[in-house]
């Protein structure tokens, strides 16, 4: 979704059009889910927070100011909501790799299972910070500057961690 498309969707939200929010959900639902899951490490909580995220976006869309990049705007809100969730429920940010792939899911297609496992193994080789950056970069398509703004770390650190993550993923066959 381009910046202009996002602004149009926000304008529709301001006018009370739910389809505007649905467009954003379809475009960034996975991205938001991944950002929140990276912090919470739990599917049920992630689903709850993701739902709350879009409900909140429905309310606060009027305060969105264009020009600063909507992906960073969305990612920042999602991260803050996930962190608030942990504070409220007195949980600690998981240091272990997320259990995304470890949960059992009925799979009819064996190839899909294999593919998902391969991705899971590749992602498991990354550190927490590296995985966050890969999420924002690969799923969100964000620039290093935007990622640095969301994660509140220097851009040099972001690029360095991203390069490390890429090197690890290459070793897992992703080229």
């Amino acid at each position: 979704m381009t910046e202009r498309e996002f602004e149009k969707a926000v304008k529709r939200i301001r006018n009370g059009d739910k389809d505007g929010l649905k467009e954003i959900y379809l475009a960034y639902g996975r991205f938001i889910y991944a950002v929140i899951y990276e912090i919470l490490g739990n599917r049920e909580d992630t689903e709850d927070v993701t739902s709350e995220f879009f409900i909140k976006l429905w309310d606060v869309a009027e305060s969105y100011r264009s020009g600063n990049g909507h992906k960073g705007y969305l990612a920042t809100i999602a991260r803050n909501m996930a962190i608030d969730w942990i504070r409220k429920h007195r949980k600690e940010i998981p240091t272990a790799p997320p259990d995304l792939m470890q949960e059992e899911t009925a799979k009819e297609n064996v190839e899909d299972v294999v593919t998902d496992m391969a991705v899971q193994e590749a992602l498991a080789t990354l550190k927490d910070g590296e995985r966050q950056i890969v999420n924002l970069k690969v799923l969100g398509g964000m620039t290093f500057r935007e990622i640095a703004g969301v994660l509140q770390m220097p851009m040099g650190t972001v690029t360095w961690k991203y390069q490390n993550a890429i090197n690890k993923l290459r070793r897992c066959g992703y080229e």
Binding site: N15, E47, I55, V134, L169
Partner: protein
């Protein structure tokens, strides 16, 4: 590499992530449309504007009525109206002399106007007398108190000069409590005629307060101007003629268009006020 990872990662998320939209949509409350909000804000502006207008009217109307009443009482309005009536009468007579056919109607009309104006003048004079009585009593009280305390009343007078209003010359002449002899109440808020020591006549504007005391001079805030209304320039003779006091030098340094304080006195021979001293 990046492309493969992205596709597989998104595929994995799609398979894991349930459709949350069905959970989200029922929890979205209805929003007021922007149009409604605009209408509401417009309505607020409209009502606030109407309220402000009503407030202004509530303040302004009594003030205008009071100002009009005061204007009628101090005789300025009557003075103007009588002048207009007199000039209109003169014009009517002149026209009548030129055109005899029109004489009857115009003269009758002008006489009616003049008689109306005379009635207004009388009522204005009567009302201004009552105002003068109250003003004189106020002045007497304040000035007597100030003199008893050895206080220089001229300072207070300077401060209150712009706000105080004194009646017309007619009302002053008929004031029973006015000082006898050579004193005459100044024509306040109107153009008064002043004479300098050389006998030149000037027009001044200002507000006059009378000081009752042994000296019995008047402290006068005046704006010196020419007869045609223009401010006198510093190099004109009239200014030099006025500046015959001990503070001549100070006055010369001032801008000629600013108001000055002067002591004036009514001169029976010249039939006007004389500037005795520039304060």
């Amino acid at each position: 590499m990046s492309k493969d990872l992205k596709e597989e990662y998104e595929h994995m998320l799609d398979s894991r992530m349930p459709d949350l939209w069905e959970r989200i949509e029922p929890q979205l409350h209805e929003k007021k449309t922007e149009k409604k909000r605009i209408n509401r804000s417009k309505r607020i502006y409209l009502y606030s504007g109407m309220a402000a207008a009503c407030l202004c009217l509530a303040i302004a109307i009594p003030a205008i009525i009071r100002t009009r009443d005061t204007g009628m009482k101090n005789g300025s309005g009557a003075y103007m109206m009588s002048d207009e009536a007199a000039s209109a009468e003169n014009n009517g007579m002149a026209d009548g002399a030129e055109d005899g056919g029109m004489m009857g109607e115009s003269m009758a009309a002008q006489e009616d106007d003049a008689s109306d104006m005379q009635g207004i003048n009388e009522s204005a004079t009567m009302s201004s007398e009552s105002v003068m009585e109250s003003m004189n009593s106020w002045e007497d009280d304040s000035c007597d108190t100030a003199m008893a305390e050895g206080y220089d009343a001229s300072h207070d007078l300077d401060e209150t000069m712009n706000s105080a209003e004194i009646g017309s010359s007619e009302s002053a002449m008929s004031d029973p409590e006015a000082d006898p002899g050579d004193w005459k109440e100044p024509q306040s808020l109107e153009t008064a005629r002043l004479s300098v020591d050389t006998g030149e006549e000037l027009e001044v504007e200002g507000c006059v307060l009378r000081i009752r005391g042994e000296d019995a001079y008047m402290s006068y805030v005046i704006a010196v101007s020419k007869v045609d209304g223009q401010t006198l320039q510093e190099d004109e003779n009239r200014i030099r003629a006025i500046a015959t006091s001990s503070q001549t030098e100070d006055y010369k340094k001032k801008q000629t268009d600013e108001t000055i304080h002067a002591m004036i006195r009514w001169d029976e021979e010249l039939d006007c006020y004389r500037i005795l001293e520039i304060l």
